[in-house]
């Protein structure tokens, strides 16, 4: 007699995320930097901002720090970036 065994796994649901078009050029744009709070993440991001300004003509940057790497950026940070930035650099890593 065969035994039927049931699958314990789940496939994650797809979620549609709307992206704005990528800018064709960074010239004159303001860059937001999301510091994920890991050691030296601020140093890395500032170097990236420096390159974006020097080599690609970005105008300015603003960096804000998350309270923890494991949580999303706060609504306040997102609101500030929406108002004050044209592009945002974010990432997670150790």
């Amino acid at each position: 007699m065969t035994i039927q065994i049931y699958d314990p796994t789940i496939e994650a649901k797809g979620r549609h995320i709307a992206y704005v078009p990528r800018p064709k050029s960074l010239a004159g744009l303001r860059v937001g930097l999301v510091d994920n709070s890991k050691h030296n993440s601020d140093q890395l991001l500032l170097r990236i901002a420096g390159l974006l300004e020097k080599d690609y003509g970005a105008k300015a940057h603003v960096m804000r720090r998350k309270i923890s790497a494991g949580v999303p950026a706060s609504p306040e940070i997102i609101a500030e970036f929406k108002n004050a930035c044209d592009v945002v650099v974010a990432g997670v890593g150790d």
Binding site: I3, I5, D7, P8, I10, A69, G70, V71, D94
Partner: protein, 344 residues
């Protein structure tokens, strides 16, 4: 009740077990094949319809249903009566304060430490005594395992993929205890966290492995806690303010009771005596930079507030051992959460 999950045919129990392993549904140990009758018994014991959502994990966009929790509880070897505890713990995983994504994914390698309180702990024979964190009790071994298998199989918390623990620890198989409410000098943990004594509740905390310390010299709380704090202070350097569980076993528990120390007394003492200077943090490379003026008196606390020490009475009556359990990462990333265990 009608189950929605896909199912597979196996010729016999041996083949069913091998199929579970081959499909990657296990933690490496053998599992109980999840058959319809076993899954239905699990759901019935908790009075749950299979389609009921137990948890929604935002980061993963995953809805964990009662059916999936039941299948994983069967795999883990749970008795049906354990199911309400497993369900409450899975519910807790989705609490925003627990912040599932961080502790589940981090290289920091935490497990889900679970403390069960209330009459159900005794009814289910969840161990609160000898060999507290070791093997030997079915409830302890399988309830925690069911939670971990649910994380693996439904939320995708797979080692090397969405579980990037560098090291992990044995608690990731199962990390479930009860509190020794009968002998505790303090109100039960869940009462301290807002529940009534007769309610059943489970507290979860993203936690590293237990660190055991011995003190057979002291017959005062201050003496025992001096040892505890010295051990913790060395590990305090992250400066990230996780929560800590402090587990006091029999002889140390008795010393606290005899001296009339409350849970709050223990928390205050440990808060004050685990402070560490910025200078020391710099010397042991846990704070960046050279030791400067003022660093010797710039004191950092281990936790954010005294209440971030979860004081728990549990462990064998013989011996002069207790343990502290560091929480994962930071309290801002993950906090301990207590949920009521509901039975039908």
């Amino acid at each position: 009740m009608e189950l929605k999950s896909r199912h597979y045919a196996a010729r016999d129990a041996d083949e069913a077990m091998e199929l579970c392993a081959a499909k990657g549904w296990t933690d490496g140990l053998p599992v109980v094949p999840p058959t319809e009758s076993r899954i239905s018994a699990m759901l019935a014991a908790a009075g749950l319809e299979p389609g009921l959502e137990i948890a929604f994990i935002e980061n993963r966009q995953v809805s964990v249903t009662a059916e999936k929790v039941a299948i994983n509880a069967v795999l883990a070897g749970c008795k049906p009566e354990y199911m309400p505890v497993v369900v409450a713990a899975v519910e807790a995983l989705a609490d925003p304060l627990y912040g599932y994504h961080g502790p589940a994914t981090s290289t920091g390698g935490s497990a889900v430490f679970m403390v069960v309180n209330g009459p159900i702990a005794r009814e289910l024979d969840i161990n609160c005594g000898d060999n507290l964190f070791g093997p030997g009790w079915r409830a302890n071994a399988t309830i925690g395992r069911a939670v971990r298998l649910t994380m693996r199989n439904t939320i995708g918390t797979l080692p090397g993929i969405l579980d990037r623990s560098s090291l992990g620890h044995g608690g990731k198989y199962s990390f479930c205890i009860a509190e020794n409410e009968a002998q505790s000098p303090w109100p039960p943990l869940h009462v301290a966290r807002g529940f009534r004594r007769e309610q059943n509740a489970v507290t979860i905390m993203a936690a590293l492995a237990p660190h055991q310390y011995s003190n057979g010299l002291s017959n005062t709380p201050e003496g025992i806690l001096t040892t505890a704090c010295a051990n913790m202070r060395i590990c305090a350097g992250t400066g990230r303010h996780p929560q800590y569980a402090l587990v006091f076993a029999g002889e140390h528990m008795a010393t606290m009771a005899k001296a009339g120390w409350t849970r709050e007394d223990v928390q205050r003492y440990c808060f004050e005596h685990t402070r560490i200077s910025a200078a020391e943090l710099k010397r042991i490379n846990l704070l960046d930079g050279a030791v400067g003026p003022g660093d010797e008196t710039d004191m950092h606390t281990l936790v954010e507030t005294p209440q971030d020490f979860l004081v728990i009475a549990a462990g064998g009556n013989a011996g002069v051992q207790s343990a502290y359990i560091p929480g994962w990462g930071s309290k801002s990333g993950s906090q301990s959460v207590t949920k009521e265990i509901r039975r039908s």
